[in-house]
């Protein structure tokens, strides 16, 4: 019955293994991520929405270009339009990021995980790193495909962009980077709040509700939100045309990264101190 699985524990018992490393935890988290179905579905949604919605919006915008106002023509940003599917696709990344830790809390798996890796910071670091890497790859693929599909649909109806144009390559790569930063933020939010529903609601608030509400407020309120609200500021990285009351692309992304870093630091501290 028990055969080789239970050998007598001899005095040389400890000689047989090496200390666990961060690389071990990375492999563990990669297995965790790829062995649940929600990962596959969330990434599929990201790809389908990112490319499909981008294509649909590009086609619609291109057809409306001729009849649009002068000011709309001045701020015409074909790159950003082709990437606009990301606005919805980011929700799938946010949900998956939140779930990859908060589902451990709701199922109790977190206790098993922390018994296996009691250096808790490693669990959070490995989880965010693995998920950020996956998001980066998927995000860049979606971003580039959406860009080329979008430009193909726009060309012939309106001015279109090429990768070699100033700021365009940065914007296309930037859309993937924005998703990557968002991925880390979602994992941190899931760690902080622990309840999947609460953390997802919080991410929706940060991404959509607050910036949306701000648009209905007077300029004195709306402008600073557009300029400095972390996800709004970070989104600048995916734009070529810079409108009034928004940050430049890299400073904007810097604001977002700073925000992510602060939330991450709080999540790290709480994970380490709280009883699991």
């Amino acid at each position: 019955m028990t055969d080789a699985a239970i050998a007598p524990a001899g005095p040389d018992h400890r000689a047989a293994f090496r200390p666990a490393t961060f690389a071990d935890v990375l492999r563990s988290e990669w297995t965790k991520l790829r062995s649940v179905r929600s990962t596959f579905w969330a990434l599929t949604v990201t790809v389908v929405l990112g490319i499909g919605l981008g294509a649909a919006i590009s086609a619609a915008a291109a057809h409306g270009y001729a009849s649009s106002s002068v000011s709309a023509k001045l701020s015409w940003d074909p790159t950003n339009i082709s990437l606009s599917g990301m606005i919805i696709a980011q929700l799938a990344i946010a949900v998956l990021g939140v779930l990859c830790i908060s589902s451990e809390y709701s199922s109790g798996m977190i206790r098993t995980s922390l018994i296996a890796v009691p250096k808790r910071g490693r669990v959070l670091a490995a989880k965010s790193l693995v998920f950020a890497a996956v998001t980066f790859v998927v995000g860049e693929v979606v971003s580039f495909v959406a860009f080329f599909v979008g430009q193909a649909l726009i060309s012939g109806h309106a001015p279109h962009a090429a990768l070699g144009d100033p700021g365009v390559a940065r914007a296309v790569v930037g859309a993937g980077l924005y998703l990557t930063a968002l991925a880390v933020l979602s994992v941190a939010a899931g760690t902080l709040l622990r309840h999947p529903a609460a953390a997802i609601a919080c991410m929706v608030g940060v991404l959509f509700v607050l910036p949306g509400v701000a648009q209905a407020l007077p300029d004195s309120w709306r402008n600073p939100v557009n300029e400095f609200w972390p996800t709004q500021a970070g989104g600048q990285l995916a734009s070529v045309h810079i409108s009034a009351h928004t940050l430049q692309p890299w400073p904007g992304f810097g604001v977002m990264c700073l925000f992510v870093a602060i939330v991450y630091a709080i999540a790290w501290t709480l994970l380490d101190r709280r009883d699991a």
Binding site: M1, T2, R14, R27, K32, I115, A276
Partner: protein, 311 residues
């Protein structure tokens, strides 16, 4: 070897664990016994670094759990068999945890075979029965082939076959020189599995003793007597200072405060005929209930009188 010194855990106003000190030695199955809510799980969580003690410390082989370089190679634990992601297949559940401690993949297959789950290794665990989940949890504990094993209520949900298997496994693990700590709220279960007992109630240590000693020190027994002159014997016994209780059968009395030899001598001295003279030993279960009577947290009304033989 697990050593606790002055372990205290307080949740708000509740003392979950109150000044607990013990050492759990290798080569033995140590039963961790106490009523529900006595602090067993909290203590185990502190051993495993999940909860930080309010005061005191606990070490595994001289080190605090969080400082172990490869925890699963040194300590195997089953706390809550349902604490897993239901959407993951059994194999991947074990694999991801094995990888975190550099345990080879073939070991996952090995432990799945050991617990008899090899046929369902590729099934998603949300379809598992409680018994199957328990087996998976035990497989996880064995994964790193550790020298210290901690099981919280491992026989919950197992069928009689499974219970027998767990018992044998615990005994084998201890016989191989390992430290085995098993919690239970069932004394009868521990009587069959454990060598040593750690009894707690309301977070306090009540007894730290071998099972044999625990049985020997079990509280007051009674003597069961059947006699055609039961009424006369009862009167004589009461005069001699013993406690006597009559049952529904007029020929039967239960005597406390006097052993069977004394009862026999007294009956002979007064020429009273005895048909039955049976010393009634308190069972382990009753001994345990007697011991923890004052520390049961949630008590059904009237339940205090239910320990028949010790009355």
């Amino acid at each position: 070897m697990i050593e606790a010194r002055g372990l205290v855990k307080r949740y708000g106003a509740t003392m979950a664990v109150n000044d607990l000190s013990f050492s759990i030695r290798p080569g033995l199955v140590t039963g961790f016994l106490g009523p529900n809510g006595a602090g067993k799980t909290t203590t185990m969580r502190m051993i495993l670094g999940l909860d930080a003690p309010t005061q005191g410390s606990v070490t595994v082989d001289g080190r605090s759990y969080r400082d172990l370089p490869a925890p699963m190679r040194e300590v195997g634990a089953l706390l809550d068999a349902r604490a897993l992601h239901g959407g993951r297949r059994a194999f991947h559940h074990l694999l991801c945890l094995a990888q975190s401690n550099d345990i080879p993949r073939r070991r996952v297959d090995e432990v799945l075979r050991t617990v008899g789950l090899e046929d369902v290794a590729r099934r998603r665990v949300k379809g598992f029965s409680l018994g199957m989940s328990q087996r998976l949890g035990i497989a996880l504990a064995l994964l790193g082939d550790p020298a210290v094993l901690i099981f919280d209520e491992p026989v919950n949900g197992l069928d009689p076959d499974g219970i027998h298997w767990v018992r044998t496994l615990m005994r084998e693990l201890a016989a191989g020189g390992r430290t085995v700590l098993v919690s239970s709220h069932l004394m009868s279960e521990m009587a069959l599995t454990a060598d040593h007992l750690l009894v707690i109630g309301k977070g306090r240590l009540i007894a730290d003793t071998s099972v044999d000693e625990f049985v020997r020190s079990s509280p007051q027994q009674s003597v069961h007597v059947r006699s055609p002159q039961a009424a006369e014997l009862a009167a004589r016994l009461r005069q001699a200072g013993a406690g006597v209780q009559a049952g529904t059968d007029p020929d039967v009395i239960e005597i406390t405060g006097m052993d069977s030899a004394e009862v026999g001598k007294l009956a002979a001295a007064h020429a009273i005929t005895l048909f039955e003279l049976i010393p009634v030993r308190a069972s382990l279960e009753e001994a345990f209930m007697e011991l923890t009577r004052d520390s049961v947290e949630y008590q059904a009304a009237g339940a205090t009188g239910a320990t028949g033989a010790t009355r």
